[in-house]
């Protein structure tokens, strides 16, 4: 926020008399001012400060927003959908935790294909380890053939794939750039009414954050938490489903725990843990954290080749 004298150009009522008054009395004292002009100046400053924060909402407005905008998107995987009572919720940040090759990227690709095909919405995929495979997405799309679209298969496939945007990001600053650009695009997209982006995937966020954590300084943690807040803000304001993946590290007593530490724990809304039985195509998913469900609930699902 600029000091008062820089605001004078925009709001001429905040002239030097007003500033002197403020300097001696403090801005928060409307009762002391007697002149009309000072009162107006104070109201002006208050409205400027009011513009600095998000608008207040009451319970009814929140409920309406939740009912109208924050629907549930199916992931295409029945086990997960059942566990999450319908699927991934818009406006929430969901985290998939699992050791390597526990199915995190598979679930992300499955969700991508499902959203692009069934819901016909756009998907933005931020890939940090070159794990995005268009061929796999096409396999998922082809798995549930729709007899009506068999004729124009190639064209439909092209349309579906056009809804998926994949960016390769290899460090956290590139991710910030991409997310800020996405925010600008989403704001202008709201007027156009085009194919709306509904799903944002970051696979994997831990590989972006882990190199900057540690070392005793707090910059790494600050970047991690601001990345988390930016993702949550995008999710809430533009009604997106945000899905991130995280790997595991060794914890106390040899039990593995999610990476990124304590501070990250409170950032995602929903945390799911994936694991994979060796040699089979059965995956286990359990709830680590959910706003309206007890943790520990589990389910199994299969991803076919």
């Amino acid at each position: 926020m600029a000091p008062l004298k820089y605001l004078e150009q925009e709001y001429p009522i905040l002239d030097s008399n007003f500033r002197n008054f403020c300097a001696t009395h403090g801005i928060f004292s409307e009762q002391q001012s007697t002149s009309e002009r000072l009162k107006q100046g104070i109201t002006q400053v208050l409205s400027i400060i009011d513009g600095q924060h998000q608008p207040w909402l009451n319970g009814m407005e929140l409920l309406e927003d939740a009912q109208l905008n924050k629907h549930v998107l199916s992931t295409g995987c029945e086990g997960i959908d059942l566990l999450l009572q319908g699927g991934l919720r818009m406006g929430q940040l969901t985290e998939l935790v699992g050791a390597s090759s526990s199915g995190k990227t598979q679930v992300c690709l499955l969700a991508t294909s499902n959203v692009a095909k069934k819901h016909m919405d756009g998907v933005v995929y931020l890939d940090t380890g070159n794990s995005f495979s268009p061929q796999r997405v096409i396999d998922f799309i082809r798995q549930n053939p729709d007899p009506a679209i068999d004729q124009a298969k190639h064209r439909i496939l092209q349309k579906v794939m056009n809804r998926i945007l994949c960016h390769s990001v290899f460090d956290i600053f590139t991710m910030f750039d991409v997310l800020h650009q996405l925010e600008v695009n989403l704001r202008s997209q709201m007027q156009k009414g085009d194919c709306q982006v509904r799903l944002l995937i970051v696979d994997s966020i831990s590989s972006l954050v882990t190199p900057i954590l540690g070392g005793g300084g707090s910059q790494g943690h600050a970047l991690m938490t601001s990345a988390g807040f930016l993702l949550k803000k995008l999710a809430h304001e533009h009604n997106l489903v945000v899905l991130v993946t995280n790997h595991t590290v060794g914890g106390e007593g040899g039990i593995s725990k999610p990476a990124l530490g304590e501070s990250w724990k409170s950032i995602p809304h929903v945390r799911l843990r994936l694991s994979h039985d060796q040699g089979s195509s059965i995956y286990n998913v359990s709830v680590l954290k959910h706003p309206s469900m007890a943790s520990g609930k589990a389910a199994r699902f299969t991803i076919y080749d």
Binding site: M1, P3, F28, L46, I49, D50, Q52, H53, Q54, P55, W56, L57, N58, G59, M60, L62, L63, D65, A66, K70, R89, G91, Q92, G217, S218, Q219, H221, A222, L223, M224, T225, S226, F229, K232, K233, H236, G251, E252, G253, I255, K257, G261, E262, S263, K265, S266, I267, H269, R271, L288, K289, H290, P291, S292, A294, S295, G296, K297
Partner: protein, 321 residues
């Protein structure tokens, strides 16, 4: 001076009896006894801090308090200032359910004759009393606090009732960002540079000013960010064996705090009550239809010697004996 000299007798005559004073104070400023915080009665002017790791039912307790506050039995309104809201939207779905249960129970206790069923009008009245804002950084939080006085005045005129609770979900949410911020002031050097210390000081100052004008109960939740590492080594040293329990839970040893305090001392001294909540190590309780996690709550300030246990159900928070 003349007035006092002229009627010294009036001066020593009592204004009201103790009984009358208590009656007046208790109706004007009711005590709040909410499970699981019912061990210590809470009044306006108290600042309560709920500490716990993530997923330890802190926000559930806040919602419980909010619901019991907006319902007409209390005749008060609630403000909920969220620091980057963690659970708001999904909890709205369950707020509706909680409201139904609570309202059924409270309508039953109400004097006016009403049907003990879901009352749309009462529901929307209660929901409107619940005010909510989400903040994405410290500046937004400070801006909210600075304009809160006028907002409260407007709402009080609108609803005709006073605000009773101010809730801050996630007081330490911007800790890392503030700690790492090194702002270079352009031009004027007499402005405070925003840092962790100054932000906390301003927050405490603003809330103090607000409490002078609008007496409220302040409840803040705080997620521990250094919790696990500290407590796990403590239990190892004390028990001499590896604690292989669920790493979500933290339990306090008798003398030391189980988590590392990271808020600046200005906030720590501002807090008048402190409760530690967490997931208990005990196995999941089986209720009628599904498994429920067991949580514990322990009063750190004022320190109590017992630990309460509670579970979270659809209808709210319930104590387990």
């Amino acid at each position: 001076m003349e007035k006092v000299v002229a009627s010294p007798r009036e001066w020593i005559d009592r204004n009201e009896s103790a009984k009358a004073m208590l009656a007046r104070v208790l109706t004007a400023r009711p005590l709040l006894l909410l499970p699981p915080l019912h061990r210590v009665p809470l009044r306006v002017g108290n600042v309560v801090e709920l500490v716990g790791t993530s997923s330890s039912a802190k926000t559930q307790i806040l919602i419980q308090a909010a619901v019991s506050c907006v319902l007409p039995k209390e005749w008060n309104g609630v403000y909920y200032g969220g620091l980057d809201r963690l659970f708001c939207l999904n909890f709205l779905g369950s707020i509706k359910k909680i409201d139904q249960e609570h309202m059924d129970f409270d309508l039953w206790n109400n004097d006016t004759k009403k049907n003990p069923t879901y009352d749309e009008e009462l529901y929307s009245l209660c929901m409107r009393r619940f005010l909510f804002i989400r903040c994405y950084d410290s500046f937004q939080f400070l801006a909210t606090l600075k304009t809160l006085h006028y907002r409260i005045q407007k709402e009080q005129e609108l609803h005709g009732i006073s605000v009773h609770i101010l809730m801050i979900d996630g007081i330490g949410a911007f800790h890392w960002i503030d700690r790492a911020s090194t702002f270079m002031p352009l031009g004027a050097t007499n402005r405070k540079t925003p840092s962790l210390q100054t932000v906390s000081e301003t927050v405490v100052q603003e809330i103090r000013k607000l409490l002078l004008l609008h007496p409220m109960l302040v409840i803040a939740t705080k997620a521990t960010i250094f919790g696990d590492r500290y407590s796990m080594t403590e239990t190892k040293r004390n028990l001499g064996k590896l604690d292989a329990s669920n790493s979500r839970s933290i339990s306090s040893t008798s003398l030391q705090l189980p988590y590392r305090e990271y808020m600046p001392s200005v906030w720590q001294t501002f807090v008048t009550h402190r409760v530690l909540v967490g997931a208990s190590d005990d196995p999941l309780i089986r209720t009628n239809d599904s498994d429920r996690s067991l949580y514990f709550s322990e009063w750190l300030l004022p320190p109590q010697s017992f630990v309460d246990k509670f579970i979270v159900k659809e209808a709210g928070v319930f104590m387990v004996p």
